[in-house]
Amino acid sequence: MGGSASMLPREALSEYQELTFLSKQEILLAYKRFSALLPKEERVNVCSARVPKSQILTLPELRANPFQHRICHVFSTSEDGDDSMSFEDFLDMLSVFSDSATSDIKSHYAFRIFDFDDDGTLDRKDLEKLVNCLTGQGEESRLSNMEMEQLIQNILEESDIDKDGTINLSEFQHVISRSPDFASSFKIIL
C-alpha cells in the first residue's frame, strides 16, 4: 500500500474483465499480489514485466501444489522456455481456476496440465507421473508396481473409449463431465 505502487489503468481493467472470468475485485487483488512479487524497481510497469518461475512458486496458492511446475509451464507464454509469467499469464491462470470459468475451459487446461510430456495425449507414463504427484514425493508414499498397474488399468478402462491405450482431449473432457468433484476441486481463489 505504499505510494510507489502503480495503479492498473481503467481501460485495461475493463478489458481484462471482458477477456477473463474474473471480477473487478479479483483482478485488482491479482494486480496487488503480482506487483508484490516484483522487485521494487520494476513495479512501475507491472503489465509488461515478467516474473521468474522461482518467484511465482513462492505464492501460497502454488507452493503446496504438486502440479506447480506444470501450471507455470502451461500458462507461461515466454518464448525463452524459462516458464516465467507476465501479468496477463497470471490473469489467465486465475481466470481458468476461478469459480465462474466454464467446465469446458477447466477440463481443457486440466488436460494440458496433466499431459506431462506435452504430446497431446495422456499415455501410461503421464498417468503414472500423475498418480505419483498425487500421493506425494518420497519413496514410502508411492504405490507399489502392482498397485500402479491395477490403478492405471482401471483408469484406462473407465476413460479410454477408442481403446488405443491413451486418453485424448475429448475422452478426457467426457470423463470429466461425469466427475462430480472436478468443479469444486479445480479452483484457486486468491
Binding site: E15, Q17, E18, L19, T20, F21, S23, Q25, P60, E61, R63, A64, N65, P66, F67, T77, E88, D92, S95, F97, S100, T102, D104, I105, H108, A110, R112, F114, D118, G120, L127, L130, V131, C133, L134, T135, G136, S141, L143, E147, Q150, L151, N154, I155, E158, L169, F172, V175, I176, R178, S179, P180, D181, F182, S184, S185, F186, K187, I188, I189
Partner: protein, 742 residues
C-alpha cells in the same frame, strides 16, 4: 472464401522437409505453382493430391488447422511456427481480391486467425472458431490473453458486416452479461463468512469446507423461518395486544366445552422469589417465560382488527406453519438437485470411480504445506484401500457355502443385537419422559438442582443415547465382514436412524401421556386437562429444553474436553497420551449433531414461534466454536468424505429429518384435540379444523349475500322458482349425506 476453397488443391510431398515432417504444398490455380505452406518455398516434386471436402471449412485458417489436426501424429506442435503460413496464404491472388472486397479490418483478421489458430498447439474442431454470428465470446476460448484480444478485435470487426438486428442482439446480450456480472459481484460481498470459509478450505480441503457451508445454509434457513413466523404471527399479536395502530383483539370463549377444560393458570412468580428461580425458568421455559410470546399459550387471540381490517390469527398461524415447512422443503431440494442428478443418473459406483479420484483428486485450493501432506497421505490410503477392496471382491466371490452360512447367521445375530440396543434406548427415553413430567410439578421449588435435573431428564437421556449407540454400532460392524465402504455407509445409516428416532420416541411418549384419559371429564376435553391444561406450551417447552441442552453440550465438550486434551497432548510427552492424540474432527458426527438440532427446531416452531430465532443464534455461535475447535484442538480425519458425496449426504439426511418432522406435526395439528384453555385454536376441535371452517364460513356468507340480493330483485317472480328451489335443496342434502359417509 468459398470459391477459393473449392479450388484448393493440396498435395502431400513424399520428400521430407526436415527429418521428421513431410511437406504439404498448396497449388495455386492461377499460376500452377506449388508452395510449401511452412516455408513458402517453391516445390517441384509433389505427391498426390489429398481428396477432402474443403467446403466444410469457412476460412483458409480453418483449412490449415484442419490439416494440422489430420496430421497431428506427424507434426509436433513446436514445428509449426506462427508466422509462415499466414504470410504465404495472403499471397494467393484470390485471397487478395477477397480482401479488397472487404474494405477495412480484414488485414487484421488474417493476422489474428493466423496466429490464434496455430500457437494453441492443440487440435481444435475447425467449426468452432470464427464462425459468425454465433461465435463464442473470446473469454471462453482456451487461448492466452493476447490471442483472445486479437480474436475479440476481429469478432468486433465482423459485427460491422452483420445486419442491424443481429448487431443489436449482440450488443444487448453483451450489456446484459455486464449487468449480471455487476450484480453477482455485489451479492458476493453480502455472503456471510466468506473469508472464514475460504481460509478453512485452504487449510483443510473441500471435504471439511462443505460442513461449514452447510452450517451457513442452516443459519440462513432458520433466519428466514424466524422472519416468516415473526411477521405473520408474533408481530400482529403483539401489536393488537398493546392496541397500537388502532387495533383491538377479541377473545371468544369456546362454546360447547366443559368449563373445567378452559382453566389455565400459568404459575407466574409472585412475591419474593429467589434469583435461581429466574435461572431455572430461563433454562426450562417455565414460570415467567411461559407467558411470553415464546410459547403457544401467549397467542390466545381468536380475531384481531387493525382499524377496519380483520386479521384471522388462527388461520395465519396454521398457514405460516405450512409455509415454513414448504419453504424448507423447496430450498433443500433446490440445493440438492445437482447431487441427485449425479446419483440417480450415474448410480452409486460412478461417484467413487477411479477417474474421479485421480483427475479430481487434488484440491487446488490447499495453501498450507501441512494440509498438503495430509492430503497426499489420505489420497494414498484411499487408493490403496480401494485397490484392496477390488481384490477383496474376488475373495468374496470365492467363498464356500459353509462360509456364507456362517457369515449370514453372524450378521443376523448382530442385527438382533442392534435392534435390542435401539429398543433399550427407546424404552429408557419413554420412562424418563413420563417420570420427568409426573415429577416436575411435585418437587418443590426450594430444591433447585433436583428440579432442574428432573426437568432435563429426557434431554440428558437422549444425549447419552446419541453418544453411546454410535460407539456400539462402530464396534459391532467390525464383526460383520462387509467391504470398508459399505461398513461406513451402514454405520452412518444406523446412527442417523438412532438420532431421529429418539426425537420421535420422546414426542410419542409425551403424547401418550397427554392423551391418557381415564375419567369422563378428561374424555370430554379430549386430553389430560389436569396435568396439561395447555399441552402445546408443554410440548414447546420440551423442544426449548432440548435446544438449550444441545447447545450447552456442544459448548461444554469443546471447552472442557477438547482444550484440556490439547494442553495435555502438547505438554505431556508420555506414550499413552501421545497415542490417544487429539480428537478427530469427524464430519459425519458433527453433521448428524446439527441435523438433530434442526429437526427439533422444525417440530418445535409450531409450538414455540420464536424458537427459530434461538436456533439461528445457536448455529451462529456454533460456527465460531467449531472453527476454533478445528483450527486449534482437532486433527482432520485420515479419510475425509469427498466434497460431492458429503454435500449429497448432508442434504439427504436433512431431507429425511424434515420428512420425519412432518409426521409429529401432522398428528398434533390434525388428530389431537387442541387445548381449550389457551392458544388460537380454542374454538376448534383440532388445529386443522380452522381451515375448513374458514372456507365454509366464507362460502356460506357469500351465498347468503347472493340469496338476499336475489330476493331483493324479485327472484320469487321467476318461473318455476319453487320447483328449482326444492330440486336444489334435495340435491345438496344428498351430497352432504354422501360426503359425511365417505
Amino acid at each position: 472464401m468459398r470459391n477459393i476453397l473449392k479450388n484448393l488443391v493440396i498435395n502431400i510431398s513424399t520428400i521430407h522437409h526436415t527429418q521428421l515432417t513431410p511437406r504439404v504444398t498448396l497449388r495455386c490455380l492461377h499460376c500452377g505453382l506449388c508452395r510449401c505452406i511452412r516455408c513458402s518455398e517453391q516445390a517441384t516434386e509433389v505427391g498426390p493430391a489429398i481428396q477432402q471436402d474443403w467446403n466444410k471449412y469457412q476460412s483458409l485458417q480453418e483449412v490449415v488447422t484442419g490439416l494440422a489436426w489430420t496430421f497431428n501424429k506427424l507434426w509436433l506442435p513446436e514445428d509449426f511456427p506462427a508466422a509462415a503460413p499466414a504470410g504465404f496464404l495472403q499471397q494467393l491472388p484470390s485471397y487478395q481480391s477477397a480482401l479488397r472486397r472487404r474494405a477495412g479490418g480484414s488485414q487484421r483478421r488474417a493476422g489474428a486467425q493466423g496466429s490464434a489458430g496455430l500457437s494453441g498447439g492443440e487440435p481444435r474442431g475447425p467449426e468452432q472458431q470464427g464462425r459468425e454470428p454465433e461465435a463464442r465470446p473470446a473469454r471462453e476460448q482456451p487461448l492466452s490473453i493476447a490471442e483472445k484480444r486479437r480474436l475479440r478485435d476481429c469478432q468486433q470487426a465482423d459485427i460491422k458486416h452483420l445486419s442491424g438486428w443481429q448487431q443489436w442482439k449482440r450488443t444487448s446480450s453483451k450489456s446484459l452479461r455486464k449487468v449480471l456480472n455487476e450484480a453477482k459481484e455485489l451479492s458476493s460481498h453480502l455472503e456471510l463468512w466468506r473469508h472464514d470459509i475460504h481460509s478453512i478450505e485452504g487449510k483443510f480441503g473441500t471435504g471439511i469446507q462443505s460442513y461449514f457451508s452447510f452450517l451457513r445454509f442452516l443459519v440462513l434457513l432458520n433466519f428466514i423461518i424466524f422472519i416468516l413466523m415473526f411477521s405473520f404471527v408474533t408481530l400482529p399479536s403483539i401489536i393488537s395486544k398493546y392496541g397500537i395502530f388502532n387495533s383491538t383483539i377479541a377473545k371468544i370463549p369456546p362454546k360447547n366445552t366443559e368449563p373445567h377444560c378452559t382453566v389455565y393458570k400459568p404459575s407466574s412468580n409472585e412475591g419474593l422469589v429467589y434469583f435461581y428461580t429466574y435461572l431455572k425458568d430461563l433454562l426450562s421455559g417455565t414460570g415467567f417465560l411461559e407467558v411470553t410470546s415464546l410459547f403457544y399459550g401467549y397467542y390466545t387471540i381468536d380475531a384481531a382488527w387493525f382499524s377496519v381490517l380483520n386479521y384471522n390469527l388462527p388461520l395465519a398461524y396454521l398457514l405460516t406453519t405450512f409455509a415454513y415447512l414448504a419453504l424448507s422443503l423447496i430450498w433443500i431440494i433446490k440445493r440438492s438437485v445437482d447431487g441427485f442428478k449425479q446419483n440417480l443418473v450415474h448410480g452409486e459406483d460412478q461417484f467413487q470411480s477411479y477417474c474421479n479420484k485421480i483427475f479430481a483428486g487434488w484440491d487446488f485450493c490447499i495453501t498450507d504445506p501441512n494440509a498438503a501432506q495430509l492430503k497426499h497421505h489420505s489420497l494414498l490410503c484411499e487408493l490403496q484401500a480401494d485397490l484392496e477392496e477390488e481384490r477383496l471382491k474376488q475373495k468374496i466371490a470365492d467363498r464356500t457355502m459353509k462360509e456364507k452360512l456362517r457369515i449370514y447367521s453372524l450378521r443376523i445375530c448382530i442385527n438382533i443385537i442392534v435392534i435390542a440396543v435401539l429398543s433399550g434406548c427407546f424404552y429408557s427415553i419413554f420412562r424418563a419422559t413420563v417420570f420427568s413430567r409426573e415429577n416436575s410439578s411435585d418437587v418443590s421449588n426450594t430444591d433447585f438442582q433436583a428440579n432442574l435435573l428432573v426437568q432435563y431428564l429426557p434431554s440428558i437421556v437422549i444425549t447419552l443415547a446419541n453418544f453411546i449407540a454410535p460407539q456400539i454400532f462402530s464396534f459391532l460392524i467390525t464383526f460383520e465382514d462387509y467391504s470398508p465402504a459399505f461398513e461406513i455407509r451402514l454405520t452412518l445409516m444406523r446412527c442417523v436412524f438412532v438420532r431421529l428416532a429418539n426425537i420421535g420416541v420422546l414426542l410419542f411418549s409425551l403424547w401418550s401421556h397427554i392423551s391418557d384419559c381415564a375419567t369422563d371429564e378428561c374424555k370430554a376435553c379430549g386430553y389430560n386437562y389436569e396435568l396439561y391444561p395447555c399441552w402445546e406450551s408443554e410440548v414447546g417447552q420440551e423442544m426449548y429444553k432440548l435446544t438449550i441442552f444441545d447447545f450447552i453440550i456442544i459448548l461444554s465438550v469443546t471447552l472442557f474436553l477438547d482444550f484440556p486434551r490439547k494442553l495435555l497432548v502438547t505438554h505431556c510427552p508420555c506414550k499413552p497420551v501421545q497415542w490417544c492424540g487429539l480428537r478427530v474432527f469427524g464430519i459425519s458426527d458433527n453433521v448428524l449433531e446439527i441435523i438433530y438440532g434442526q429437526t427439533i427446531c422444525w417440530i418445535g416452531t409450531f409450538f414455540s414461534p420464536l424458537l427459530p430465532a434461538i436456533a439461528t443464534i445457536k448455529y451462529f455461535i456454533i460456527f465460531y466454536i467449531k472453527k476454533i475447535s478445528l483450527m486449534h484442538t482437532c486433527k482432520p480425519a485420515a479419510r475425509p468424505l469427498r466434497a460431492s458425496s458429503s454435500n449429497f449426504f448432508f442434504l439427504v439426511v436433512l431431507l429425511i429429518g424434515l420428512v420425519l418432522a412432518f409426521i409429529p406435526l401432522g398428528i398434533s395439528i390434525a388428530y389431537i384435540s387442541s387445548s381449550k384453555a389457551c392458544g388460537p385454536f380454542r374454538s376448534f376441535n383440532t388445529s386443522w379444523a380452522v381451515v375448513p371452517d374458514t372456507i365454509i364460513k366464507q362460502f356460506r356468507d357469500d351465498e347468503l349475500e347472493h340469496h338476499d340480493i336475489g330476493l331483493e330483485h324479485d327472484a320469487k317472480g321467476a318461473p318455476a322458482y319453487s320447483v328449482l328451489k326444492t330440486a336444489i335443496q334435495l340435491g345438496c342434502k344428498a351430497a352432504i349425506f354422501l360426503s359425511e359417509r365417505i
